[in-house]
Amino acid sequence: MPAINIEDLSEKDKLKMEVEQLRKEVKLERQPVSKCSEEIKNYIEERSGEDPLVKGVPEEKNPFKEKGGCIIA
């Protein structure tokens, strides 16, 4: 069983956890948003041509196309 239940921890213990975590995070290496956004944009542009939900799928090839209308009398 996981070691803790958050309801059992005191306010002070939770804060200690938070402070320790923040100390680690302040030291992280970060890259500028401009560079990261370019990469996201390029990733999408390379692939969106093949994205079925973006470009649409012709009815014949769509596995979810409307089922044929057969009525059993």
Partner: protein
């Protein structure tokens, strides 16, 4: 006009290093001192004093958060939608319900696709877990859990088993068998044990390990065969509501979101939290990795969805509209990551252009809250589950 409080910047000699710098108030043993920003960080890394008071911890947390914001702001040189200005706008979308899966007797709470791109497992408030063939809408398997509110379900990568759990505080694995004489419930294996409800579960990239998230504020990694706890993840200050594993190429991390408004990225091997983000104003109901693994999206009760870039270590986009006031319960990306689908508590599904930040479509059809939404593994369709007892396949 609203009142604004301005922080008065005091300039002067630092109480610790004596250099002339902009100063911040710092509390040590209830005494107020003035430190420069470098000394604030130095002091923070020197370790906590024995008789640390709640107040000094709060202050340290606040000053560290301020420092974190500063560091992140330094690299915030542009907005994602500005970078995407020249990208061609998306055309009109015609997405409609292609299949409606009826059979649950109560609210559908969770669903997952099988890797074969056609089977789906779904779970409901009435304790039922059903496996469907989405092409034919036939039910292939059904099992009744001993508890109500089965909030989490997942398909194993092999397609041979499913995992589910909820108010029973456990995650159980059921092997799927086509033998009509076998009772699925008889082969049930209890894998995870939490001290509060199970909110989410996912197999890792094999049938052998399961990752769980719980109302007890923790996430945990379990060995399916032995039921042994392999790693536990502590850091959330309240219930954890969702999790998502990074795409396998990116390595062993996962992201979780909780009622403490935080999204946290974890290293699965060490159990350490690598990064955390706290920009939502309310519970985070859903988190989903971007297909490349370098970012993730979140959906929250604050009626917004947001995109966080892991290398920039900040929120880079927010998907919201004044007219959207109900919480987003679940989010998922299309195959290329160009579209973000989000299900809301106002019964609708909004489709967002990830790059430009605008809504491209709004889908109506469900007659109650949309509680769960997943795009199929090959991206040809997506499935939504709702409190109206049905699931819909859209394409």
């Amino acid at each position: 006009m609203c009142d604004q409080t301005f922080l008065a910047i005091v300039f002067g000699p630092c109480d610790r290093c004596s250099r002339e710098k902009p100063l911040r108030p710092v509390y040590i043993k209830s005494e107020q001192l003035s430190y420069c920003s470098i000394c604030v960080e130095m002091m923070a890394t020197e370790g906590l004093h024995e008789n640390e008071t709640l107040a000094s911890l709060k202050n340290e947390a606040e000053s560290l958060k301020g420092k974190l914001e500063e560091e992140r702001a330094k690299l915030h040189d542009v907005e994602l939608h500005q970078v995407a200005e020249r990208v061609e706008a998306l055309g009109q979308f015609v997405m409609k319900t292609r299949r409606t899966l009826k059979g649950h007797g109560n609210k559908v709470l969770c669903m997952d696709w099988c890797k074969d791109k056609r089977r789906i497992v779904s779970s409901s408030q009435d304790g039922k877990v059903i496996v469907w063939d989405s092409f034919t809408t036939n039910k292939e398997h059904a099992v009744t859990m001993p508890c109500t509110w089965v909030m989490a379900c997942a398909y194993a990568p092999s397609g041979c088993a499913i995992a589910c759990g909820g108010l029973d505080n456990k995650c159980s694995v059921y092997p799927l068998t086509f033998d009509k004489n076998e009772n699925m419930a008889a082969k049930k294996k209890s894998v995870a044990m939490h001290t509060n409800y199970l909110s989410a579960c996912s197999f890792t990239n094999s049938d052998m390990q399961i990752l769980t998230a719980s109302g007890d504020g923790t996430c945990a990694l379990w060995d399916v065969e032995s039921g042994q706890l392999l790693q536990s993840f502590h850091g959330h200050g309240a219930d954890v509501l969702c999790l998502d594993l990074a795409p396998s190429e990116t390595g062993n991390t996962f992201v979780s979101g909780g009622c403490d408004k935080k999204a946290m990225v974890w290293d699965m091997r060490s159990g350490q939290c690598i990064q955390s983000f706290e920009t939502h104003d309310s519970d985070i109901n859903s988190v989903r990795y971007y297909p490349s693994g370098d970012a993730f999206a979140s959906g929250s009760d604050d009626a917004t969805c947001r995109l966080y870039d892991l290398r920039a270590d900040r929120e880079v986009a927010i998907y919201s509209k004044e007219s959207i006031i109900f919480g987003a319960s679940s989010v998922d990306f299309s195959l290329s990551g160009r579209l973000l689908f989000a299900g809301y508590n106002d019964y609708t599904i909004n489709v967002w252009d990830v790059l430009k930040g605008s809504r491209v479509s709004i889908l109506f059809g469900h007659e109650n809250r949309v509680s769960t939404l997943r795009v199929s593994p090959d991206g040809t369709a997506f499935c939504s589950g709702s409190w109206d007892h049905t699931l819909r396949i859209w394409a």
